[in-house]
Subunit: 269 residues, 2 copies
């Protein structure tokens, strides 16, 4: 299994603090030695840093920890390989352009029977279940929506239904984004936390490091973080429910979709 | 105008030496202060590092200079903005997936009337002439070749014709790749150099730095470098001709297409 880290904020925010704890899980406090990656959306553009070597030893990971890149949306992943060997093409996050937007996608879990997910516009470069599922999901969206819909409800309902199909194939915790919205989908394990005024201290679980957010924020800042496991020991993280999709924008939950018992979806926008 | 740097090699090779000189042109020995990027193909995968700040001051550029990433194909670009402001989405190289391969593209020059190039599968994320032309070129290829042709001749002839159309719109020196072949297209200025046994010394033009390639190579290594201007002072660089497309693979020229006077193409494979 892998670990996920995401951030949605209403002001360009760096993720150095959370990433400092997270990268220890790649070979030090966690067993995820099979590569890592982090994607930043900046001024409508996208960049990612990926490395097939363990994050705990990676000079690129140390750069990211020490070099504040400010972003509204961040997605990061550290990998413990199950499907697909350890190499660059299998290193998350994956990215594809749709509607002139750079989409990115990171997956924690393992799917069965994923080869039967029919592809259309997008094809995997590597050989993971994760990238195949991403290509399938984006292709399905593009077939239904040649252009982004003016009102996002139908898009999000479709996205939730597609995620639910993936959950039918196995464990599928997802973070993905088009650069504006951050989509968090929980199959088994995903937690989140929102920091806003009054800001306080936070202490990392994975390494000896604290931060006083009052020194780094303004009263208007809203910064939400999602992760496979809580990253701090002294804050209240909220666990997502299996089948739940949260749509984040500017640090706030903009929509919530849940799987109910008979498989239908309920929205609480 | 911008500057281009490319490498094609028959063994995984790092580009630290050439990059050390090249990055000085991004704000020190050259005026190209509007961002830079470098793309590496590794084990069938792709990663790039891009930064909208000047390469001469960039901590990410220093990392790339000091951290040897070994690759068969590298493409790098430093930018002096003309079309599109300085931001991440306008920072080369650009990348798109086609046929399950990560294509990347970097452009030196400026086009007129590029908005009329009709797009199909791919759309730009930023607002440069360069990314629009890349989306157009890849879309044209994909419309003609739903799958990669078994024999590459028709693909390369098409690629050359598409590049020639771009040259009709302005200055268009290009480096692009699918991860196996490196395509170098010259509109006004592009030089290349092949290093093979017996290896010798090289001395950078842009900074005080020398290398003795005998200490870093085996007798079988073939490493070719392309750049807007020669990077070393003591080696013989070959200038490409306007309208010429070189197809590099494993450090060797695999095919050459030239524009002749009446506009037809001649191949010398």
């Amino acid at each position: 299994m892998c670990e996920l880290l995401g951030m949605s904020a209403n002001v360009p925010t760096d993720i150095c603090f959370s990433f400092a704890g997270f990268l220890h899980r790649g070979g030090r406090t966690g067993p995820h030695r099979d590569g890592w990656g982090i994607a930043f959306y900046e001024q409508g553009g996208y960049r990612d840093f990926r490395d097939p070597s363990p994050s705990a030893d990676s000079p690129i990971a140390r750069l990211i920890r020490d070099y504040p890149i400010k972003s509204h949306v961040v997605i990061s992943h550290i990998r413990q390989a199950n499907v697909g060997n350890v190499r660059m093409a299998n290193t998350h996050p994956f990215t594809r352009e749709m509607w002139g937007r750079p989409w990115c996608y990171a997956h924690n879990g393992q799917l069965q029977g994923w080869g039967a997910l029919a592809l259309s516009f997008y094809r995997p470069v590597g050989d993971t279940d994760s990238e195949h599922a991403f290509c399938w999901l984006l292709g399905e969206l593009r077939q239904r929506f040649a252009e982004p819909p003016a009102e996002p409800g139908p898009l999000w309902t479709t996205l939730h239904a597609l995620c639910e199909r993936l959950r039918g194939l196995g464990v599928c915790n997802l973070l993905f984004s088009d650069g504006v919205h951050l989509y968090a989908y929980c199959s088994t394990k995903l937690v989140h936390l929102t920091r806003r005024a009054p800001f306080g201290h936070a202490h990392l679980s994975d390494t000896e490091m604290s931060v006083d957010f009052r020194e780094h924020t303004t009263l208007a800042d809203v910064v939400s973080v999602m992760a496979t496991e809580p990253l701090t020991a002294n804050e209240d993280w909220t666990a997502m429910q299996p089948g739940e999709l949260l749509v984040w924008r500017d640090g706030e939950i903009q929509a919530r979709y849940r799987a109910n018992e008979d498989g239908a979806q309920t929205s609480e926008r």
